[in-house]
Symmetry: C2
Subunit: 119 residues, 2 copies
């Protein structure tokens, strides 16, 4: 069993095109040889957002703190702590901080997204 | 995209042998047709615990609130909010509330665990 504090995991800037003021912590993933899915924690600073994009895998998200919103194919939806979000594969999406403090959430993806061969 | 509050998901008692004072919310799983993994939220009341058991799939856990401990092959380890836990397949484990308020965490498993054919 591996136990660690989220805070002990380094937060790395998300440099993907379209991201602004976002860092990611890889909480459980390749380092732990997680076979099926990876757990990442994102911190979006006030005014920040993730890329507005789509990809061939799903997201499962739990909002931890702050206030935010999701840009969905049906418009913008508010997000608060305790909300869960399912983004199916190939659906356009973006997460934005809509508040004055950091907006934090975990976002899980299939393990193949972070597999060494996934580049 | 599916968005819902964790609180809006019914909490069902965990009736598995060895569980005591535990409820589970299926936050994202078969209902959403999640293809790879399922997100569940567990609430362990003071004095409660999950079964001390093992199985052929892994857990990825994030502690949300309260105080608890994990019984591992190397002894008992304390758990606090923000801690993440990786339990590999086939390793004995148990989660216990060690505090005076509810101990809450999310625990993800491969989708096959909750597939209709998994019984």
């Amino acid at each position: 069993m591996i136990i660690k504090s989220s805070d002990a995991v380094p937060a790395k800037p998300v440099t993907m095109a379209g991201a602004n003021r976002v860092t990611m912590r890889m909480l459980l993933g390749p380092l732990e040889q997680c076979p099926t899915f990876a757990m990442r924690k994102f911190t979006v600073e006030p005014g920040g957002f993730t890329p507005h994009h789509h990809h061939d895998y799903e997201h499962e998200v739990l909002i931890l703190s702050g206030r935010g919103e999701a840009l969905t194919p049906d418009g913008t939806k508010p997000l608060k702590p305790g909300d869960v979000v399912y983004v199916p594969a190939n659906e356009m999406h973006q997460f934005r901080n809509s508040g004055a403090v950091n907006f934090e959430f975990i976002c899980l993806v299939p393990a193949r997204v972070h597999a060494p061969c996934a580049g």
